[in-house]
Subunit: 500 residues, 2 copies
Amino acid sequence: MNSRRIDPSLRRLILASLFLAGVPGLVQAGEYQDDLKARRARAMAELDPGTAMVLWSADAKLYSRDVNYEYRQDSNLLYLTGITQEDTILVLMPGAATKKEVLFVQAANPQREHRNGHILTKAEATALSGIETVYFFSDFEPFLTSMFNARNYGLRRGVSTTEWDVFFAEVRAGRGKLALLLGPRPAPSRKLPEVYEWANRFRERFFGVAVIDSLSIVEGLRQIKTPYEQKVLERSVQISAEGHRAGMRAAAPGKFEYEVEAAIEQVYLTNGAMSWGYPSIVGSGPNSTILHYEASSRKMEAGDLLLVDAAASYQGLTGDITRTTPASGAYSPTQKDIYRLVLAAQEAGMGAARVGNKTADVEKASEEVIKAGLLKLGLITDDKGEQFRTWYTHGICHWIGMDVHDVGDYDRPLAAGMAFVVEPGLYIRPQALDNLPDTPENQVFKTKVGPAVQKYQNIGVRVEDSFLLTDAGLKRLSTDAPRTIEEVEAWMKGTTREKR
Amino acid sequence: MNSRRIDPSLRRLILASLFLAGVPGLVQAGEYQDDLKARRARAMAELDPGTAMVLWSADAKLYSRDVNYEYRQDSNLLYLTGITQEDTILVLMPGAATKKEVLFVQAANPQREHRNGHILTKAEATALSGIETVYFFSDFEPFLTSMFNARNYGLRRGVSTTEWDVFFAEVRAGRGKLALLLGPRPAPSRKLPEVYEWANRFRERFFGVAVIDSLSIVEGLRQIKTPYEQKVLERSVQISAEGHRAGMRAAAPGKFEYEVEAAIEQVYLTNGAMSWGYPSIVGSGPNSTILHYEASSRKMEAGDLLLVDAAASYQGLTGDITRTTPASGAYSPTQKDIYRLVLAAQEAGMGAARVGNKTADVEKASEEVIKAGLLKLGLITDDKGEQFRTWYTHGICHWIGMDVHDVGDYDRPLAAGMAFVVEPGLYIRPQALDNLPDTPENQVFKTKVGPAVQKYQNIGVRVEDSFLLTDAGLKRLSTDAPRTIEEVEAWMKGTTREKR
């Protein structure tokens, strides 16, 4: 590789153009662009006419020295523009007559394009995003300054328009607002995130303009997947499920965890999913009890469980799947005990995942099954309190979408179009007992559950599926990944025919 | 994946432990640790006795929302400690009697370890790094403050030692120095990098202590590979070469670039190289003329060239290999013209890569061949000036090692132990003519070379090998990747037997 700074901003850019033309059997030409337009319209419907909402692209992240990681666009900007290129800014102004949407993109640069590939022209940015008004990145600050000075930016270019008359009137009336996606306020002693620093510089210049946080608007929209998103998410999860199937077949005593990871991730790329949604977790034996074990460096042994938590990011959408399978192809009786309990908890959670319920109801349904089951297995002595948390250490619901832990309000009742996982897990780590405070109650607990902990030690099982809630009920998107004991053992024996 | 912040800091940590035990046929048990000790001793030999040199681990880099990229340790800290964990600090103090090396690591944290895996104990940190004195991360600031106050840190813990007497005497005599790896000074209008901010906070507190930049010391050491590094680099390049072979076999008209990438990267993982050294470049047809094309999204066509620039990072060392191969298995006559010229230029560069020469000599030898060849092909009209730069757009030598563009002084004469690439490339992009300034001379140039540019348009060829300079001469580490026209065509036909 020749020695210039690497700037891998174009990988996902090109992907968006696939979607411009459509993908046979999945999306029509222009469908993505129509969806993007509708998303922006919905965002603007939440804003007052004197508001300009500004979103920035993500910065490139340094891997080491002059090499960057593969570029990842900011999810919110991607959600509203489809643009996967660095140095992109979106301004939404519902108070404008027609130029409500203004996009700022990099200018052409022949040297840079020879190094890193094509930079979108303004026309291409319009075609990809559906945004008609496109300026160059360097125009952003003069533009925004003009707007909040209530002066027509077009005049600078010899063009007089009345585009922004309503917006200007609002600003002059003291109702101007700059809406930024600020997010959580950092603690006073912490460093300010860049968007806060920028907001403060703005406040030092524009005294009469309110700075407001519009993060919840965009996050609220993202919580309900559009029909377009639903289709693409389903395809994304299918690719991930296919990866899991390949991973199961690649596992065997004597092989390394990273060989399973290689088999899974090759499936992603081969299917045009250019990245994982999160680094793959491939943990065998005792590593199955580590929630986010990512070393993938252990050699599997006969009798090991292998916990694989992995999903692709396809066209900006990611599911989330975990399977826990026997390295040698058959679960042991103790592994089956834990596995069946986790699966029963998942089924109970799925049963509660209905329109109108909340994720807390899903959590509760699953917990009840876990408590009863752990008591029966002798791993707890009391199914009323919090003892079960010793082995059942995390929540089981989170939203999925553009981010694997997608944005969304957990107090909002479940509704059609929401996508989430149900992922109970039990991790029988002997260390968990050592870490309990040394109280008389805990002494008794340790003594009583000791034999069962000994019996089930180092068994970690998590079963996670990706779901879409529809008006017709709960749809499991990850059905292609073998899930029950019988399905898994049959698949690993090779008796299940490859479906597609 | 359950919803806690992902912190993939352990992937490479575990790898270092492989090296503690040794790798059969490659390194002995303890060999890595002995090498690390020798590196630190060499660094300290360059420092005055009143100096404390401080190095920090890299920060985790955010991918999106609560997911981080896979963690990449700071190369310099890794070079001196072998520790791949976040929140690690090394202090080197040649003026200490025995505790010259002090390592600060994360404290144990059962919750975090259940989420993300094992955190090194102090004993493990000692075993991996060979550093006897290990404190917790939270002790770093009190320790450093004590040192530059010339007060024994041990006293805080009820231990009186004379470890640091010489250092303290130097500090009291006004010869105390804090050595940081500062790197290039940012322009006055630019934001200060964190290490500069930290240095300034230190200067606001310790008026009599000089802050000095010790980057060149560590970089100077890294420029000459140790025998241990040479072996591991050679293995790393072999894995990359094996990836290229798999990639060549995966290429075919009708297949996508990303399928080739999948085949290559699976070879990395399968061989225990857990990451690329840089994002893979897989560019077919016109994309072969983009130096760092990383989209990998085009469908290959018959007649395409496919430029693949890819290498694994194995145990912290990365080579760099580029091959340009015909998608359909046979080069066209025009492709052969360009390929042969690039290969001849590489051979000329290799011939000049001798002990005592500089990389400028390698560049020059290659350029002479390129100029003569381009003139002969009708792509330039004058082989004296800079016309050849229209098609030959980058330098051909850079150091390799822990970073793909490794650190090192280009004015330092070539010496045994240096590792570098020779990578000439020609990129016949019609756009290159459009971008020339519109002068009468350029008009003439365009007219004269027009037919040849037409003939060779969209052909991009780069040939890059990784080399180690030894006392016995130049050693090509990437011999396993087919390189000549004959070797490539034979390999793609499948007539070459897989070597290993």
